[in-house]
């Protein structure tokens, strides 16, 4: 199975003998030992350090369908190198646009995303309820809010409910991970460790969804729940809605509760709290393990990785758009 490669060290990545060569560089511009990355095993690249590369490399990566995701010094997601679409399908494209422009069709899909997302959040809370974390109150409120989802007629309205659900959900975080105090979600920039962790993980989840979308016929720019904007792949945000509770939140809970991530892994800057490089590495390692981790799929009856699960979700979405099968989001059962 192809793997993601994470580049933390600054260095130079180049095309060499039809494969990739990475030469790390230290502060004094001394070159380290070159590492050859087997092109056949690379699924995508995550660039956290500063990377030297030329267009020959990008041509080569593009030909091999390898996406590159960039993150800046403040660990914000800055963008992706998205190779030319290789799986175009006109019919699906037309259907996707039609589903977007028809308010009825759009809202059904949007509702499903929220419904499933909320369901998976509830599952998380119930899991911790069974572990004496007393999240009963939040569970009740969210269950009430979920009932409203199917009565919505506009996407804005739906987003409002989603916001309320998230707020209640996040308020339960203090009970689940008491080591880090959490006073509500803050973005741009996050000011406390837990917000920094959530921001960082959500971003990676988004890139993972984008990666999987690339390998399907779907157009990542036409979305249903989020408003399709310019210069962004908003369908990845829609799909991420389902997987954030399953992948991101669970990862955060286990990292914090097992004390893999501690206060020392964060650095405080003016008005912002960010993960240090050591922390970032721990999170990325755990994330990578999580994505390659497998579960036995109930419908398929075989083991699939979480990464593949995201792709299956995209397939289901395409089936819905082509009116083959009604879309039903992935609900966790454990």
């Amino acid at each position: 199975m192809k793997k993601s490669f994470y580049l933390f060290n600054p260095g130079r990545l180049s095309r060499k003998d039809n494969t990739l060569k990475f030469v790390p560089v230290d502060e004094n511009v001394n070159e380290g030992q070159a590492r050859y990355l087997p092109i056949e095993q690379v699924a995508n690249l995550y660039v956290f350090g500063s990377l030297d590369a030329n267009s020959a490399l990008y041509n080569f990566l593009g030909k091999n369908g390898i996406g590159v995701h960039f993150f800046d010094y403040y660990e914000h997601y800055t963008g992706s190198f998205y190779p030319k679409e290789y799986l175009q399908a006109g019919q699906l494209h037309v259907q996707q646009s039609l589903h977007y422009s028809d308010p009825m069709k759009r809202i059904t899909l949007a509702q499903e995303f929220i419904n499933v997302g909320a369901f998976n959040m509830l599952k998380n809370l119930k899991y911790y309820q069974n572990r004496n974390k007393n999240t009963a109150e939040e569970i009740l409120i969210i269950e009430e809010l979920i009932k409203q989802i199917n009565h919505t007629t506009k996407v804005d309205e739906l987003m409002g409910i989603e916001g309320n659900i998230r707020q209640v959900y996040y308020s339960a975080f203090n009970k689940i991970i008491p080591t880090f105090p959490f006073n509500g979600r803050e973005r741009q920039p996050p000011t406390d460790p837990i917000n920094a962790l959530i921001s960082f993980c959500n971003m990676i989840c988004y890139t993972a969804c984008l990666d999987m979308l690339y390998h399907t016929q779907l157009d990542p720019t036409i979305s249903f729940l989020h408003e399709p904007g310019v210069r962004r792949y908003s369908l990845a945000l829609d799909v991420a809605e389902i997987f954030k509770p399953i992948l991101v939140d669970r990862l955060i809970f286990s990292l914090v509760n097992k004390k893999h991530i501690q206060v020392k892994h964060f650095r405080n800057e003016v008005n912002a709290c960010l993960l240090k490089e050591s922390g970032r590495k721990i999170v990325m390692k755990a994330w990578d393990d999580k994505l390659t981790d497998t579960i036995k799929h109930r419908k398929l009856g075989r083991h699939v990785s979480y990464k593949h699960l995201i792709k299956l979700e995209c397939y289901k979405l395409s089936k819905h758009l082509m009116s083959i099968e009604q879309y039903q989001g992935f609900k966790t059962w454990w």
């Binding site: 003998d17 494969t19 095993q41 990325m284």
Partner: protein, 86 residues
């Protein structure tokens, strides 16, 4: 499938083989590679290797269902890590 590949090849063709193997697998030691491949990738690798090899050359591929059945112990210096965190 998890692969360990070793070759013993005439130095004239050694460079070619090295470049080919680097495309598919992680280099760990002189003329030793390891990594995860699909069946098709392995067939491609074998076909390409066949093109390069001539009389007296040898290529051995050990394969394993999964990495978890493989114990790897490094004594002395690790020539190259195969970690995907660089």
């Amino acid at each position: 499938m998890y692969i360990i590949l070793v070759y013993d090849i005439n130095t004239k063709r050694g460079g070619k083989m090295l470049k080919l193997c680097r495309k598919y697998l992680n280099w760990i030691q002189n003329s030793v590679f390891e990594g995860e491949l699909t069946n098709i990738q392995l067939e491609n690798l074998k076909a390409d290797a066949n093109e390069i090899m001539q009389e007296g050359d040898s290529l051995i591929i050990f394969n394993n269902k999964s990495k978890k059945w493989l114990n790897k112990e490094i004594i002395g210096q690790e020539k190259s890590s195969i970690n995907n965190f660089l």
